[in-house]
Amino acid sequence: MSSHGIAGRKPLNAYLFLLPAFAVLAGVLLIPIVNGLRLSFFDWPLRNISKAPVFVGFRNYVELFRSEFFRASIRATLIFTLSVVSIELVVGTAIALVLEGDIPGLRFFRTLYVLPIMIAPVVVGVVWRFMYHPSYGKINFFLGQMGINPVGWLSDPEVAMKAVIIADVWQWTPFVFLLVLAGLQGVPKDLSEAARVDGANYTQTLLFVKLPHISSVLGLTAVLRLIDSFRSLVVIFNMTFGGPGVTTEVLSLHLYKTAFISQRLGLSSAIAVILLLLIFALSFVLIVRGVRGEKR
């Protein structure tokens, strides 16, 4: 009887202990998300913020999917995110593999490579904007020395997205490098040595010993970068402000413009909901795959 009673109380106690954590989560996460979701069904102009929001049902969502600029923004976000995450993963891992061994002066190089992460995004945006300047920028200057015509880095619709991607890769590859390096240092030395004794060459050791060992680190890094680049705003804000046209207007910037320039808080909440769903879906795929990989 008593044992039954204890067993019956156990889950209740467990929930009681969970309560504070849940309260914090509800306060900082759930309530804002639910409010945002609710607001996405209303029309609420920022300039008339003192007046009550007007319920409009799904009209905000219908308007978004009809809007050419919104569709272009989704496209820009996907191109930007998928490009930066894949490039950063490949380059960051490559640099980590090169700097993993015991090379003299390694610590210096590691510190050097990590510097870009420490710079404030506003500064990164402004500095890259200067460097890309068509007439006074360093990049076109060096191209000019080589006899190449000036490139409209941020004004040519064919080039602007690439220019923005380069800046992001420059800043965030070190982050991937750091995590992968930590992962690589966790690979037991005897494993790779054993592989080498068995006659495996470098590529084989890499593909069948090292990379499988750090696959969960790679997965986690990919998720972190994916979420971060989906939300990235400041660098693009300062470099192109979405231009030319809307070619670099990622969703977070479109959201900003909708909320503060167009002053439509309801519509911008609808964008936020869609952005959240997109991030959730993509992260879900990666996390589930990561968990499965670990179980194996």
């Binding site: 007439s135 409209g152 231009g243 030319p244 503060f260 320039i261």
Partner: protein
């Protein structure tokens, strides 16, 4: 007894000093010059005015001229300044003015936000202040303010909401207001014997000539970046070319042949302009002229002071000034900045004193001498100033053609200006769409804005 007498003596002498304070103010140069000795500038002594304004040539001149310190000395009011990039002020101002009590007592607003603020009751009508003899400086001479500037920076609620007319009220005063005129490289025009353009055809020809014939020099510098800058660039030429944003029934009119022709003109200018001009913001437009890359500038008149400043301008001593060229009509811009008092200001009266002080004749002159722009007819037409500032004579003539209906600054303008019109124009300028296609694609979104706001039934 002795103590009591001493106390009375101190009180009397303090009171006397208080009155004498007025006398001292008369001795201060500003007040002496305006003859406002009877006016009590110290009624709000001890209060603080928080003043939000842009990092802009006119406001930089205000800071350099020392008039803020002079005001503090004259009134005993402390002025806290908050300077921001001009397009970023909007978010901050709207947020501040949406609170029960905002941080700002005085703001500088870009004229395109005027109706939005006024219609949302975010800023205060100024007439009650001017009607209050305790607050209104006696010989302020309101009628001397450039009438076009007053209408575009300060008046809302009349015809089409943003124009003067029945129901209109005064919400702001011009400070950093502008029209547009032509600034050109006199040395180059003289050397190559090029005619200073009076028409758009001549402007196109001059731009072509410099781009093609003179190494290292391009034609016209222009802002064109996606959003607000592209719209501003387009409006500058749309006015003389006869293009409009809306027709008389608030239906989109930017697909008209004139509107398309304006974009075609901009595309030609980009061809003859400095590299990457289709992505230029105002700063880059300025830089191209200051560095001597562009032979012609045609935009806000306030830029004249910066172009003449030897510390920032490579071409400060090589300048000529001329009227905004004409196409179908003559029509230059009306824009820039105006001062307004937020409805939720903590010290509106002190803010009004500062507002008046900044826009008085004597202050204007000091700001002009520090590199600011004139906003009173007396200054523009002043023979002495015209001798010192050759652009003032051009400005005096140009103001006759300043178009008060230059852009439809209805409260919803922000939603149309950058996110729709400016984006479409930039799409056309960067070759993503034909001008016709780009403009046709935003007709429906713009109509939806106008339907939602009740302009189109």
């Amino acid at each position: 007894m002795f103590r009591k007498m001493l106390a009375i003596l101190i009180l009397v002498s303090l009171a006397a000093m208080g009155f004498a304070g007025g006398g001292q103010e008369e001795a201060a140069p500003t007040v002496d010059a305006s003859g406002n000795g009877g006016f009590d500038w110290r009624a709000y002594e001890g209060s603080t005015v928080v003043f939000n304004f842009p990092n802009h040539v006119h406001y930089n001149a205000m800071m350099d001229s020392g008039v803020i310190e002079e005001f503090e000395e004259l009134t005993g009011i402390t002025v806290e300044t908050d300077m921001m990039q001009y397009l970023n002020m909007h978010d901050k101002q709207v947020l501040e003015m949406s609170k029960p009590t905002g941080d700002y007592d005085l703001i500088s607003m870009v004229v395109m936000w005027k109706s939005e603020y006024a219609m949302a009751d975010m800023i205060q009508p100024l007439q009650p202040f001017f009607d209050n003899p305790a607050l209104a400086v006696p010989d302020y001479d309101f009628d001397d303010l450039v009438p076009g500037y007053v209408e575009v920076t300060g008046i809302a609620g009349g015809e089409n909401i943003y124009r003067d007319g029945p129901g209109a009220q005064l919400f702001g005063l011009p400070f950093g207001s502008e029209t547009s005129f032509l600034i050109y490289r006199k040395d180059l025009f003289d050397e190559y014997n090029v005619k200073v353009p009076e028409t758009y055809d001549e402007l196109t020809e001059a731009a072509r000539f410099f781009a093609e014939e003179v190494p290292g020099v391009y034609g016209l510098t222009m802002r064109a970046a996606s959003g607000h800058h592209a719209t501003h660039g387009w409006l500058l030429h749309a006015s003389p070319m006869g293009a409009r944003v809306f027709d008389d029934n608030w239906e989109p009119a930017f697909t008209s042949p004139e509107a398309i022709e304006t974009i075609e003109f901009m595309k030609t200018m980009i061809e003859y302009g400095p590299p990457g001009m289709e992505g230029f913001t105002q700063d880059e437009e300025f830089a191209a002229f200051l560095q001597g890359d562009a032979a012609i500038y045609l935009d806000a008149s306030v830029f004249a002071a910066r172009a003449k400043d030897p510390t920032v301008s490579e071409v400060h001593d090589k300048l000529g000034f001329a009227l905004h060229p004409t196409a179908k009509t003559a029509g230059s811009e009306t824009g820039g900045f105006g001062l307004a008092i937020p409805a939720n200001a903590a010290s509106p009266e002190a803010a009004f004193l500062l507002m008046q002080f900044l826009t008085m004749k004597e202050t204007e002159r000091k700001v002009i001498l520090a590199g600011g722009a004139p906003f009173r007819m007396s200054a523009v037409n002043d023979a002495g100033l015209q001798a010192q500032y050759p652009e003032f004579a051009v400005l005096a003539e140009q103001l006759k053609y300043a178009n008060p209906d230059w852009r439809p600054i209805i409260p919803e303008w922000g939603e149309i200006n950058g996110p729709l019109l400016g984006t479409a124009i930039n799409q056309a300028l960067t070759g993503q769409k034909t001008p016709e296609q780009a403009m046709a694609d935003i007709v429906e979104p713009v109509r939806q804005v106008m339907i939602r706001a009740g302009y189109i039934k």
